[in-house]
């Protein structure tokens, strides 16, 4: 009953006119950045981080969560209509969704994507509501050694598991950790890698890293390599699902949700594996004429399932963020940065010290989902019009917003030069296929992990054995090792299934 009361209090906070307006603004902005190429939720939130100086925390977190969610809805629109998935999560949606659109069924694909996202988002929010306090209760008992290993777990999953190459993922992670070392050491106050620049004493800001790696790098990359890219857009058609579409979509939504939610809950985020798994499952279960549509006219299950899985994962990723303070994706890493701007480190204590904030945020997830359904079903035509903005103007405009984000933090021209340098780094990483998420996660979690590690060793009176002597940390160490091995097996299985499914 406690949970229900807390949630009701959360709704009371989230449903004030001002907060509802922030949620609406966030959802609309999120949908726009999801639809537009070259800009994603992580960078949109990062560019708007300076508002944390002025806007009250509950309002800004509701706003940022709206962007995070909205981008997922918007991303599926681009996948279906343009066959250019904005992020890995909508890659699978593009597979079947684009085929459906080519056969004049864009409307049905968009409808099942939006409704599936709604169902999955709502179910996963219920899971967050029920499980997050429980995880937080449990997490209070963790000490520095356990925390350190949890963060190592996040590092491992983000860098070694999710990418294509463990080596390049780890390289990116260490680059991020190195960037996180810049500035004053948290424990002793010693200056590290500041090169005599007073600006570097505070460290490299997460805004600079995210905006540089994603926005500036994207614009530079577009200029250098993607000038002549010509997309063809599919015709829209009426957003409508037939009875047969419904009958095929509903079970796929539920299965996608069931697959996606657990993947979000564990600090092994990333939507790649659950969406591919969901696609494989849908194809396996399809029979007769439904199966024949896969890979040909486009099967609606192949859009419904993965879209639901995607949203369920993204929503459930709030659990590790809020209860453990561990981000598992670019956007959740930037959200963690937003909390830090307010002097709050998410963790198990958040549920006691900032209960009203947490519950308002959770309540806003329910509200946001509903808003997004309304924004995306009847209004999808409006968003599609955004795709008509010519690319040169769009990309150049992104630079203006990047300047606000980077310069607005502390009005230093030095930051703008650094932003450019990080942008160039991002271009190189993209060109040579290094993942960028490990850099951001490493940069933001690195200093926290280092502090936990040093505290842990101090607890062990200088002995590293502290990590294996405590049962919980020893178990976590085992999990880290398992996480390195298991997803590889799972992925191999999913890839084989996909290959089989394609040839069959």
């Amino acid at each position: 009953m406690d949970v229900l009361n807390a949630l009701m209090a959360g709704f009371a906070t989230a449903a004030t006119p001002a907060n509802l307006l922030w949620a609406l603004l966030g959802c609309a902005l999120g949908t726009a950045v999801g639809v537009l190429p070259g800009i994603g939720p992580a960078v949109a939130v990062a560019m708007l981080l300076p508002i944390t100086a002025k806007v009250e925390i509950t309002a800004s977190m509701i706003f940022f969560a709206g962007i995070y969610y909205g981008a997922m809805y918007g991303g599926s629109t681009t996948s279906v209509l343009l066959n250019t998935p904005g992020e890995t999560g909508s890659m699978v949606t593009a597979l079947e969704g684009n085929r459906m659109a080519k056969n004049g069924r864009a409307g049905a694909a968009l409808a099942t994507a939006a409704l599936g996202s709604f169902v999955a988002g709502t179910v996963a929010t219920v899971v967050v509501t029920l499980f997050a306090p429980w995880v937080a209760d449990f997490a209070v008992r963790l000490g520095p050694p356990e925390y350190f290993l949890l963060m190592v777990l996040a590092f491992t999953t983000v860098s070694a598991v999710l990418g294509k190459s463990t080596l390049r993922g780890l390289t990116a992670l260490f680059v991020g950790l190195a960037m996180g070392c810049v500035g004053m050491d948290q424990i002793s106050g010693a200056a590290r890698y500041t090169l005599g620049q007073p600006e570097l004493l505070d460290g490299i800001d997460i805004v600079l890293a995210a905006v540089g790696l994603f926005a500036v790098a994207e614009v530079l990359y577009a200029a250098l390599y993607e000038g002549r890219l010509q997309g063809t857009q599919n015709a829209m058609g009426r957003v409508h699902m037939s009875l047969r579409d419904w009958r095929r979509s509903v079970p796929a939504w539920l299965r996608g949700t069931a697959i996606g939610t657990p993947f979000g809950c564990i600090p092994a985020g990333g939507t790649e594996i659950p969406t591919f798994l969901s696609y494989a499952v849908e194809k396996k279960l399809a029979r007769g004429p439904d199966l024949a549509e896969f890979g040909r006219q486009g099967a609606i299950e192949g859009v419904a399932g993965p879209e639901a899985a995607n949203n369920a994962t993204v929503t459930a990723a709030m659990i590790p963020l809020l209860t453990l303070g561990i981000p598992t994706s670019n956007t959740t890493a930037v959200l963690l940065g937003a909390f830090q701007n307010y002097g709050i480190n998410p963790g198990p204590q958040l549920f006691t010290t900032s209960a009203s904030l947490v519950w308002a945020l959770i309540a806003s997830l329910y509200i946001g989902n509903l808003m997004l359904l309304v924004l995306n079903l009847p209004l999808v035509g409006v968003w599609v019009r955004l795709l008509k903005i010519p690319r040169p103007q769009l990309y150049a405009g992104i630079l203006i917003f990047a300047t606000v984000g980077a310069y607005g933090m502390r009005q230093s021209a030095f930051d703008l030069f650094l932003l450019y340098a990080i942008g160039v780094l991002g271009v190189l990483m993209r060109r040579f296929d290094f993942p960028t998420a490990p850099v951001v996660v490493g940069m933001i979690l690195g200093p926290l992990a280092e502090a936990q590690m040093r505290n842990a060793v101090a607890i062990g009176e200088g002995s590293w054995a502290v990590f294996v002597q405590r049962p919980m940390s020893a178990a976590l160490l085992a999990v880290v090792l398992a996480v390195l091995v298991l997803p590889r097996l799972l992925r191999g299985w999913a890839v084989r299934r996909m290959a089989l499914a394609r040839t069959a």
């Binding site: 050491d185 200029a223 040169p392 150049a396 690195g446």
Partner: protein
């Protein structure tokens, strides 16, 4: 997604080797910087120079392993990054000029003018990259106007409503 070494051209191999060398170089610089960081560990056995040394060592190892991959058939399991095979360098220079001039001038010109300049230069580059040619004085004027029409409202919203400090050319708060 295959884990076999892909067919790579000699040019790609050279570039990849250069990237690997760059990673190794970063590690060396990190190590050089780590020498100057104090090691006093206090109560624990670990001081502020521990992580820098660890990261430097790990990056050095990554650099060596990347170099080995580059020299033995190229980076493993790479995916096509998308876009053309060759860089459109002049377009990149236009965009870079926009960003760097913006950084250099924002304090003197103010946010609106500096960002308009950045926008204008970037559009020139991006338009050339798209093969749309250099444009005419009319399109240039239109670009400048578009840039100002994006930059000015952004400036006003952020300074007036959100009270974020952005530099102006004048003290009026509107330009």
């Amino acid at each position: 997604m295959s884990s076999q070494a892909p067919e790579t051209s000699a040019g790609t191999a050279r570039m990849q080797a250069a990237v690997a060398a760059g990673v190794f170089g970063c590690a060396v610089l990190l190590a050089a910087g780590a020498v100057g960081i104090p090691s006093n560990a206090g109560y624990g056995g670990v001081g502020p120079n521990f992580l820098p040394w660890g990261v430097a060592a790990a990056l050095a190892l990554c650099g060596v392993l990347l170099l080995r991959e580059a020299l033995t058939g190229g980076f493993r399991a790479t995916e096509d990054p998308g876009g053309g095979a060759r860089a459109h360098l002049s377009a990149g220079l236009w965009v870079s000029a926009g960003l760097l001039l913006n950084a250099a001038l924002i304090g003197t010109l103010g946010f609106i003018l500096s960002c308009t300049l950045c926008y204008w230069l970037a559009v020139q580059g991006l338009r050339r990259a798209a093969g749309q040619g250099a444009g005419s004085p009319r399109t240039w004027a239109l670009d400048a106007l578009t840039g100002a029409l994006i930059a000015a409202p952004v400036f006003w919203v952020f300074t007036k409503f959100l009270a974020i400090n952005l530099p102006g050319l004048t003290r009026t708060g509107w330009l």
